[in-house]
């Protein structure tokens, strides 16, 4: 059985809401993995989400293909 884990940076640490291992105890209660015992990590939304860029930028190749009609 492999052991899974998450690594987070220092700045992300404050946004950790929950980290749950799926399957524990000798009966593997809650287990739904295979050769892994899955782990989920829940992060809170970014605190500065209101400042997020409301625009998206597509790569140039998108615009060039528009222009050449392909």
């Amino acid at each position: 059985m492999r052991i899974d884990y998450f690594l987070v940076s220092e700045t992300l640490k404050e946004r950790i809401v929950a980290c749950e291992m799926h399957g524990h105890g000798i009966e593997l209660e809650g287990f739904y993995g295979s050769d892994h015992c899955p782990v989920t990590l829940e992060l809170s939304p970014s605190s500065n989400s209101q400042n997020e860029d409301p625009f998206v930028t597509k790569p140039l190749s998108y615009f060039f293909s528009l222009l050449s009609g392909c």
Binding site: P54, F55, V56, T57, P59, L60, S61, F63, L66
Partner: protein, 266 residues
């Protein structure tokens, strides 16, 4: 064999200073028509296209089409060692993995040669389609550089709007907003100080100022800059290089996210 001799070597120095911030590594392509480069930034939203026509060189020998991969920072370091009045010669043997830059002082009393290792660079060559633009602005390059610098102290993006009234550059940030309007102005004494606007259709586009400021590193190459815009298409910012070519920057516009959702899939 490749041998290119440029009397006005400072042009090449300025070219490198103008593109090295945008692109780390690039392939220089040499053919009988000229020395050229096309490269994208790492996020693929900006592209630089450089052309130095063969006629602009005092001596131009290119036996076969050649592509040379170079790290632009290293190349700029080498060219920094050339004096502003030096003649610069670029030399490479066929199949060689190095390129040589030779600098001759005007009086020929000092000759330097620097050899730089070439790189193998896999690069995506985008075909740049011809486009007709809704609006074209030609203005002093120093003025454009000043506008981009001033606005970037207020916000991160610039909205460029062109109407009959002129061209407006706008931004907003945490501390407030800024608008700069340049009206058409052709009655000045010197033609390079004029602002000329050709408009077929009003245009309004949003761009990241960070890239615009990178482009204005090319200001020393030309007194004027030409900005070509069409709604929802990349902008082209072009600086002529004396009589021998140009450096053109393409930048993808920023598209409002909710607008994008309502558009039909291409």
């Amino acid at each position: 064999m490749l041998e290119l001799r440029l009397v006005q070597g400072s042009l090449l120095k300025k070219v490198l200073e103008s593109i090295k911030e945008l692109v780390n590594d690039a392939n220089f392509d040499c053919s009988s028509t000229g020395f050229s480069l096309q490269a994208m930034d790492s996020s693929h939203v900006a592209l630089v296209a450089l052309l130095l026509r063969s006629e602009g060189f005092e001596h131009y020998r290119c036996d076969r089409n050649t592509s040379m991969g170079m790290n632009l920072n290293n190349m700029a370091k080498m060219l920094k060692c050339a004096g502003n009045d030096d003649i610069i010669t670029i030399k490479a043997d066929d199949g060689s993995d190095t390129v040589t830059f030779m600098f001759e002082s005007p009086t020929q009393d000092k000759i330097s040669d620097f050899e730089m290792k070439l790189m193998d660079i896999d690069s995506e060559h985008l075909g740049i389609p011809e486009a007709e633009y809704h609006a074209i602005v030609k203005m002093p390059s120093s003025e454009f550089a000043r506008i981009c610098k001033d606005l970037s102290s207020i916000g991160d993006t610039v909205v460029i709007s062109i109407t009959k009234e002129g061209v407006k550059f706008s931004t907003k940030g945490d501390i407030g907003t800024a608008n700069i309007v340049c009206r058409q102005n052709t009655s000045v004494d010197k033609p390079e100080e004029a602002t000329v606007i050709e408009m077929n259709e009003p245009v309004s586009l949003t761009f990241a100022l960070r890239y615009m400021n990178s482009f204005t590193k090319a200001t020393p190459l030309s007194n004027t800059v030409t900005i070509s815009l069409s709604n929802e298409l990349p902008v082209v910012v072009e600086y002529k290089i004396a009589e021998m070519g140009y450096v053109r920057f393409y930048l993808a516009p920023k598209i409002e996210e909710d607008e994008e959702d309502t558009k039909p899939q291409v």
